[in-house]
Amino acid sequence: MAGETGKIDPMHQFEVQTIFDGFAIGGQQIAFTNSALWMVLTVGAIILFMWGGMARQIVPGRWQLVVEGATGFIDNLIDANIGPEGKKYAPYLFSLFMFILMANMLGMLPLGVVGVHPFTVTSHFTVTGVLAILSFSIVLIVGFFKHGFKFFGLFIPHGAPWWMIPLLFPIEIVSFLVRPFSLALRLFVAMTAGHVLMKVLSGFIIQGVNADALWVAPLVAIPSFLLMVGISALELLVAGIQAYVFALLTSLYINDAEHLH
């Protein structure tokens, strides 16, 4: 893709680079990569955020108010979608929401200006795939543990006439099995698409400013810059919405496992 010199490769930002080699298990190198570094930074940011708001004052300060807002948000989500049985899933759903939100937000930091390149952890299918598998296994384990083989009743919609069941059962099974893929793909593609778009636009700006012809900078670079400001705001919105959608869909699936319809 980056055939000509000076062209900006929008895929370069997703490269996983080794920071130090770590150790080897069974011939496989277990290295500390930039992906791992940004995951650690994400967890550090969450710990910092939560620790600052755990003062437990009766009249909350600003920071505590933000943290209480975040926990209350997930609490309401669980109350509305799972009900009182959902309380035990609050730690998982909250960690999931905060991790995705923080990872998305850290990836949006404009640190490239000072030469540090933020790595969006959630723009990799491996990471979102593991998160989706976690959610899906919770659904399976809870469903089979609570309902045993009655869990398969989930695949027969209520009020369906008996002669439709042989047709509906496979369809429902497929739609159930596709869930982890759709969860992981949505987050991964949304983040990748946004970052590719921003990189392409920034390429327009840089090349427009550097162009030999004088008319290019005002005609291309400045409108691209204005568009980029808007797109960045949109990407911040998408970062929040994707984290919310991931937590929301996970809570819906857990509700299926808890209540079977």
Binding site: M1, M11, L77, A80, N81, S182, L185, R186, V189, A190, T192, A193, V196, I241, Y244, V245, L248, L249, L252
Partner: protein
């Protein structure tokens, strides 16, 4: 036709799907706003359903974007 140019044309055609999904997402939020203005009291309770509809519409568009990117990187 060379395979590379065919892949590029395919990527462009797949990108149409992303635009179609934009119509879908607009329809989800537009319909929500329309009915929320009719009955603002009930709007807050339906926000979960709004985002489920948004997620479903968006996923299909992102899938076509994914196909486009795969074809583009292959070509």
């Amino acid at each position: 036709m060379e395979p590379t140019s065919a892949a590029m044309i395919g990527a462009g055609l797949a990108a149409i799907g992303a635009g179609m999904a934009a119509l879908g997402v607009g329809n989800v939020f537009g319909s929500f706003l329309e009915s929320a203005l009719r009955n603002p009291a009930a709007a807050d309770g339906q926000q979960g359903r709004l985002f489920i509809g948004f997620a479903a519409a968006e996923l299909l568009g992102l899938l076509s974007f994914l196909i486009a990117i795969l074809l583009y990187l292959k070509g």
